[in-house]
Amino acid sequence: MLGPAGAFACFAAGTGAGLLLRNRCHDRFHALEAWRDALEVMGLLLQEERLPLGDLLCQTAHGLARQGAAAQVRARLLHTGEAILSAPSLTLSQAYEAAVKTCPISGEQAEEQGHLILLFGQLSSGSAAMRHQAVMAAMKRFGLLVEKARSKAEDTGKLYARLGALGGLMLGIALW
């Protein structure tokens, strides 16, 4: 029906769809990794420096890479930090929520979104030690999420890629 060109197109489309789904799994993994790195920097800054929260977030952002998922996390942290620097009457939670709308992160899911909203609420109350503890607890949670996401990215991602290629091949053969 479609001939060889059409069959090849089906195969390519199936492979592409599979790779897209695989990349989504990887996106989440990379985003979680970037957050874990950001939390590590933030924890160190909280321990070693005594910065206003806006500066803390901006300096944390400057410690991240400028490409990929890290760049997206960087942008969100910078947006939050600069918001409370320019409008100190904003709470940290309000600034973060605005940044979530303005700075999306590929692959981000509700689970880590919940953890981050909790963290940014905890960062605006309590002593320095309590805030540091909140960041350490968040790092632990993100560490577990990273491992789960890595495993899913490897296993499920491969599965998606293979299923996509296979599905496209079968469709191509069926419509040849």
């Binding site: 005594r50 206003p52 929260l53 409370i84 100190p88 605006s124």
Partner: protein, 305 residues
């Protein structure tokens, strides 16, 4: 920080109705902002108190304190234990609330119930009455002690002395323990302390004076609110090294200074060649200038000689 910059900063941090009241006052008129839980906000102005319509809840008082400190209250635990925090621009925010104490020491302050922002001002010319007496025949800066009650303008005078000496070409160094003299923000003084001034921000006075003496080669050093024997010893060392020290102390008169052991120690060594007494009935006015033997040498403004 100019008055307009101060108003802009306060407008960002305070509820709109309070910011509007302050902005409506003439430049420099507002002296204090007092916020108390479940009470109307008050602006203390030179022409009298202005009562705002806003009645702040305890949560709002807490939020205002966080906002004024630019979300840095948690990082200023040491300052909070002394009862106040210095804001951007050199303004001082006093805090009241529930104290968490341990073994007689204050560990933390919680549930902030009231705050008082004392608005810093830069009044060029405050030091004019004392400037003619600050340099000796050889052009060296004399050590000077400024005495005054709280709110009489000691810090303002010190800042202006530093500015004038610095702009006159002398190398000045400043230990700004509470960030009120120069109000450093990201390494830049928000208040004018002179072109030729090095500022050590946040350091304890005794450590800072020695640091500057060793590293910055100043002609004179300025620091505010001299405290106990550790501070006095550092001042003595500086004076013995030929560097003038200009500092201040709380007090209502010159005569009773010798009752304080730290000052007595310095008087024994004749460290201060000049004493300045601030007028208790106004802000930024010199009432009298005294020589090293605490004899009145100069005019008075207001008060009696």
């Amino acid at each position: 920080m100019t008055w307009q910059e101060t108003v802009n900063f306060l407008s960002l941090c305070l509820p709109r109705s309070v910011a509007k009241t302050i902005a409506a006052l003439p430049a420099g008129e507002a002296r204090e902002i007092r916020v108390r839980a479940n009470r109307p906000v008050r602006i203390v102005a030179a022409s009298g108190d202005k009562i705002c319509s806003l009645v702040a809840t305890q949560e709002q008082v807490n939020a205002i304190a966080e906002s004024l400190s630019e979300h840095a209250l948690y990082a200023r635990a040491d300052e909070q234990r002394h009862g106040y925090v210095t804001l951007r621009g050199g303004h001082r925010m006093g805090l009241c609330g529930r104290v968490i104490a341990q073994g007689g020491n204050i560990r933390a302050l919680r549930e902030i119930s009231s705050l008082c922002v004392r608005i810093a001002g830069q009044w060029p010319g405050t030091a004019d009455p004392v400037m003619p007496y600050l340099l000796d025949e050889a052009g060296r800066v004399r050590s000077m002690l400024v005495v005054g009650l709280p709110g009489t303008g000691k810090t303002t005078l010190l800042r202006d002395v530093c500015r004038q000496l610095s702009d006159g070409g002398l190398r000045m160094a400043m230990v700004d323990e509470r960030s009120e003299l120069a109000a450093m923000s990201r390494g830049v003084p928000q208040l004018d302390v002179g072109e030729n001034t090095d500022v050590l921000d946040g350091a304890a006075k005794d450590v800072g004076l020695r640091w500057l003496l060793r590293g910055m080669g100043p002609h004179a050093m300025v620091t505010d609110e001299m405290g106990g024997m550790a501070d006095a010893q550092a001042v003595l060392e500086a004076a013995q090294n030929g560097v003038g020290v200009i500092t201040s102390v709380h007090g209502g008169d010159i005569e009773t200074l010798a009752h304080r052991s730290a000052l007595y120690h310095l008087m024994q060594h004749q460290v201060f060649s000049l004493y300045v007494l601030m007028d208790p009935n106004s802000t930024g006015k010199v009432m009298g200038v005294y020589d090293g033997q605490r004899q009145l040498i100069l005019h008075t403004y207001g008060g009696n000689a």
